[in-house]
Symmetry: C2
Subunit: 149 residues, 2 copies
Amino acid sequence: MPNSDTFDLDDFLPYLLNQAASETSLEFQKYYKGKYGLLQTEWRVIFHLGRNGTMTATDICTRARIHKTKVSRAVSGLERRRYLSRRAVPNDRRHEGLTLTRQGEVVYADLREAAFRFDRAVMAQIPRQNREVLRRCLRQLARVGAGAG
Amino acid sequence: MPNSDTFDLDDFLPYLLNQAASETSLEFQKYYKGKYGLLQTEWRVIFHLGRNGTMTATDICTRARIHKTKVSRAVSGLERRRYLSRRAVPNDRRHEGLTLTRQGEVVYADLREAAFRFDRAVMAQIPRQNREVLRRCLRQLARVGAGAG
DNA sequence: GGATATTAGTTGCTTTTGTAACTAACAATG
DNA sequence: CATTGTTAGTTACAAAAGCAACTAATATCC
């Protein structure tokens, strides 16, 4: 039975995840920032709209787990640069449907393609037989975090 | 052979890593923030000093991959609260050795113990036979990121 | 050994995030 | 149908991160 005295913080899962996340995100971040001047949250909003079609800001908050103020600002920025447009939802004027513009779709397609390439480059470091295990584990952790803690 | 058209961004590795990292970090973050009022960078500085003994700020930057301004401010904060002390290095007055104080050691011990518990809680979600694979993959990704990209 | 470059670390300023308070629209309840 | 509560989103203010310029000490190279 392992105990706390032999525990190495370098192996602490949240730490490893953070390190792995920042290392693997860096190149891709340079790409979308350099090419389109996007912030991470902006890219994520594009990604979710591109993937799921029209959504409200709250939909994005829920799916992407981003706080509403961040989404609000990202949406403003993307609207200003004409990457998305807002359209009122009929019977409820509180929320609006957000949709990528033609231009936004183009950016989405490019970044999705780039993401695919980056994903392959990152995965290239992982032995083939572990790749699906890794992705499955991460999906699990991304879903609920530490669970009951 | 997979191609970009069937690629699902929800499976994009950097994205999954970021989501998994933030989900799994949250509870632990509440712990050290709530109990000691530490920021993430401050906790990391404590962690590296506790694990490796006396280090210079640059050592920490290198090992922890944190920018020097962040380290500089974290060190100031920790020194002010008497969690670490600086001591001049003999033949080179540019850098200083940073060491946890007695009090800092106590905090370190507590957080290390807590990290151990959190690690177990997080890992509990992962099938036993995948746990070492997962950690190994993450260590690899944390090391070099996307490599050649 | 004096000019230039490099290394260590800090400070100032700008951008981004986080938190909480706020407006506006709708829903529910008496 | 007014009162209270809830939901959607924005805005204002404070904390933190990022970047670039700066100081100070040492190394290098003519």
